[in-house]
Amino acid sequence: MAEIKLMKGNEALAEAAIRAGVDAYFGYPITPQSEVIEYLMMEQPEKTTGMVVLQAESEVAAINMVYGAAGAGKRVMTSSSSPGISLKQEGISYMAGAELPAVIVNVVRGGPGLGTIQPSQADYFQSVKGGGHGDYKLYVLAPASVQEMADHVEDAFEMAFKYRTPVLILSDGVIGQMMEKVQFKEFKPRWTDDEIYQLHGNWATTGKKKGRERNIITSLDLKSEKMEGRVHRLMKKYAQMEEEDLRFETIKCEDAEYLIVAYGSSARIAQKTVDLARAKGIKVGLLRPITLFPFPKKQLMEFTKQVKGILSVELSMGQMVEDVRLAVEHKVPVEHFGRTGGIIHTPEEILDALQQKLIKN
Amino acid sequence: MAKVIGAIVVDNDKCKGCEVCIPVCGPDIIRMSSEVNLKGYHYAYMENPDDCTGCTNCGIVCPDGAITVYRMKVED
């Protein structure tokens, strides 16, 4: 069994990237995720796996570097936090449009604006509805532990290349900054040039080999008919993701009369609420979406047969709650509880909210 | 003495009638047609084919790559 390490979420993510055979990382420092690039610079994977690590001049440059490497068939990633991710929206929309596989990590802090550097989940809308322009979606993974910060890297690349789409790992300051035990998978070598020619030579700009058409990476279709076709192609992928690659976890849901829906750090905290509630005799379960898009719509609908009410718990003023409401089609009451601005809710607060909003009413 | 003679072929449909090829032609061989092509442009043609030296200047500067140039040596 692999060695157990104690690491920060950000560091675990960086280490996992090296081990996942990632070819390149481009990023710009910002709290609370600068450990990602710092760890990589310290480890110097350039000397071992050959992974390129470059500090870009800005987030805008970084995301466009990701565009370039992804378009050339490489496994490439970037990470940032909220304001930096906002700056990347044009680039992300381009990548979705050009159908480029890459991994973007957002270790969310409290906004809007410069806000605070403390943890938050208020970038949910931006992540799942499309913070950039146009009709597109990202495949969004929400790790809730240091172990998942590590594991999701490989998962994210798998999805990125399966669908040729940018994948977002939506983390937050808690998960990024905390240390927990983590175990890493075996090293996975970077693709050789030949492997890339074989795997991605039919679309990536690896140099036009004899006998094939030139490969073009673009999100432009001046002709609207073609552009609509492109968007429909994207939508088909998104439908397939919903079918094949939805992920979620249920905790103590078997006999639950009330359901908490929470992801990431909120799910960790809400898990304690579940225990507190059960200690008081209130049967609460937790549904933790691991993918935020696709969202466990059907599963939530299923629960409407069982539970009396649902509480969406997020470190925001209420964003995911809309998706929960859309999913359950108003069959049971859906309420929101959340703190914002970097304040982290306590398990006790959540229990209070649940009682007040769903039970006492 | 050997003399060099040339000729150009203009792809009428590619030509956009920009006339950029005219001033670079020393012997002043190129003129624009009075007809227009499918895109509505007057296209270039050799008005004085005999004087062409095949120097390639016109081909080199044609933005649309509409000109092909030929050249051969002939004994005087």
């Binding site: 104690l6 609370p32 550097i117 905390m178 240390m179 750090s265 960790r268 898990q271 304690k272 306590t346 | -």
Partner: protein, 187 residues
């Protein structure tokens, strides 16, 4: 067993690494652990704190409002964390620089004069290990041999030769802890 602990003090006091060594020690005895620091620019010359949880079960929330134990190393932290100790819990503090001493009656309060003990040992860097010793004296959540292992894991190789010194410091802490307010009945 679950121990929920906060360690709070100045940035330079080794607060975060104390927490890290504890967490690593927990891992050495097969426990679940979490280590959640405060972070950001307020750390600049200001305060730092870290929440450490050691448990035999899967840890849910790494972030807490109330603690079994608080280790407090400066006045600001005293102001902020005295009241976060659960009734019946433990507050351990270094009296150096403390102007307003803790007043709670429903918890057990200990002092460890680690600043002076560290000076005595002629090495300011062992400060946090003295604290560790005092803490382990009253809350033996990890065994000493696991601490040694934890130190090995969390210190870079080239510092391993300092481990005996650190163990000495832990001993010093264990030997010098002072009970300020023994909780009579509550616990």
């Amino acid at each position: 067993m679950t121990e929920e602990l906060i360690i709070a003090g100045f940035g330079g006091q080794g607060v975060l690494s104390l927490g890290k060594i504890l967490a690593y020690s927990g891992i050495m005895q097969n426990q679940e652990v979490s280590w959640m620091p405060s972070y950001g620019p307020e750390m600049r010359g200001g305060t730092a704190n870290v929440t450490v949880i050691l448990s035999d079960e899967r840890i849910s929330s790494p972030y807490l409002k109330l603690f079994d134990t608080a280790i407090i190393l400066n006045q600001q932290s005293m102001d902020k964390f005295e009241n976060t100790v659960k009734p019946g819990g433990v507050l351990l503090y270094d009296p150096n620089g403390i102007t307003i001493h803790p007043k709670r009656k429903d918890i057990t309060i200990y002092q460890i004069d680690a600043s002076n003990l560290a000076s005595d040992m002629g090495n300011k860097k062992v400060y946090n290990m003295i604290i560790m010793g005092a803490y382990l004296k009253v809350k033996p959540v990890v065994q000493l041999e696991n601490v040694t292992e934890g130190l090995k894991k969390s210190l870079p190789e080239r510092y391993h030769k300092l481990i005996p010194l650190n163990i000495d410091a832990i001993q010093k802490g264990m030997d010098n802890i002072l009970t300020v307010n023994e909780l009579a009945i509550l616990s």
